[in-house]
Symmetry: C2
DNA sequence: GAATTGACAGACTAGTTGGTCTGTAGTTAA
DNA sequence: TTAACTACAGACCAACTAGTCTGTCAATTC
């Protein structure tokens, strides 16, 4: 009875999910300790296993209820608003860089982090994470298709191929920054990336 | 006395290192179990802790004595032999693709795997892994510099920037293949990558 | 307002895991 | 030959960790 004089189960769940997400980013799913989440949230085993059947189900919930909405807010929604694909995308990539610098360089891209550590561990993780990549991939491809229709993007390029290429490159660059704990890779590769994107202009 | 009627300490160490490396690729360093390595090699705790002070030191040895030589053999040496940067690099990337298909798609790039999981865990891991990236990075940049001197590569591009860009892109593509467990990403993004590389021709 | 259900608290457990320690057989040097 | 050292074998341990179980108080229902 040390906590929760007034009850709020939704807030409890969200609290646990958020802390678990941060722990996974720092230490990975395998390095995530249920006890540590409970320490940081102030809840107990009783609360945790009331909301989650197991650690694995917590992993599922983190992917579906934290990571997925984050990608939506960070990439999918902005992509829908794009009017000038070339310039807007360059701007979004620069925003991405700024965001990386803010929350410490060693964190990297959350989606890519979970991809590399969690997806090989269990098929249930992998399918959930792939679903998120697909959403991003399709949203990017659609952005290029719209650009082709409005005559802003060359019509001889394949929107899906470009989408996959850009996603791969962005993640690769962020991965380098993460390991080097420096944004030098962003300076170097970013220049090439911007030049490449500009070649797509009609 | 169930094993090693005849002794060969070097082979013992290499055996442990190789199995540990494969285990890390499959389950990550945190998922690596000393006992499992001993099961698969047939050795015991006594042997293990005679050769390695701790699990962490095993991690160091895997990076320095398995991963690093692998990169040397797979990338550094071939890069030294490059006569025609554009065509040879495209060939090397296709080789890389073939290799990925052979040892199951979910494995991904060893260097990138260890980068994402191990480098955030401990600074001693990170500095060792960064050192390997640097070797690859410099070897690639030097290849482009040679290409510029021989007039095969445009002189208005920065060799180091291209090197970083290519490394990031290659790793990003392999990462996508790993998560999707499909080489579709290689088909899609690979086309863009090849086109980009060709634009570097003088 | 009594009863049922939901949302926790917290002690406890069983299985795992990195690491230790003692013993012993092969190897090498004198 | 023998003493000293190397390269293991394998039992053992302490710490950790996901998960359980019983109890309790708040919230909802009737």
């Amino acid at each position: 009875m040390s906590k929760a004089a007034v009850r709020n189960p939704d807030a409890t769940r969200q609290n646990i999910l958020q802390v678990a997400f941060e722990e996974i980013l720092l230490k990975g799913y395998q390095g995530l300790r249920v006890d540590e989440v409970l320490n940081k949230t102030g809840f107990t085993k009783g609360a945790f296993y009331h909301h989650f059947k197991s650690k694995k189900e917590l992993g599922h919930a983190v992917i579906d209820e934290v990571l997925k909405p984050w990608i939506h807010e960070r990439w999918i929604e902005p992509l829908k608003q794009v009017k000038d694909p070339i310039n807007d995308l360059i701007k979004m990539m620069n925003d991405s860089r700024a965001e990386i610098n803010i929350k410490e360089l060693h964190t990297g891209c959350p989606l890519n982090n979970l991809t590399h550590e969690m997806s090989p561990l269990d098929e249930s993780f992998r399918v959930r994470i792939v679903a998120i990549w697909e959403i991003w991939y399709e949203a990017l491809a659609e952005t290029f298709e719209r650009g082709q229709q409005t005559g802003q993007i060359r019509k001889d390029v394949n929107p899906h191929n470009i989408a996959r290429f850009l996603i791969a490159t962005i993640e690769g660059i962020i991965g380098q920054c993460k390991c080097y704990m420096s944004d030098q890779a962003f300076d170097e590769a970013g220049k090439c990336l911007q030049e490449y994107v500009k070649t797509l202009r009609a």
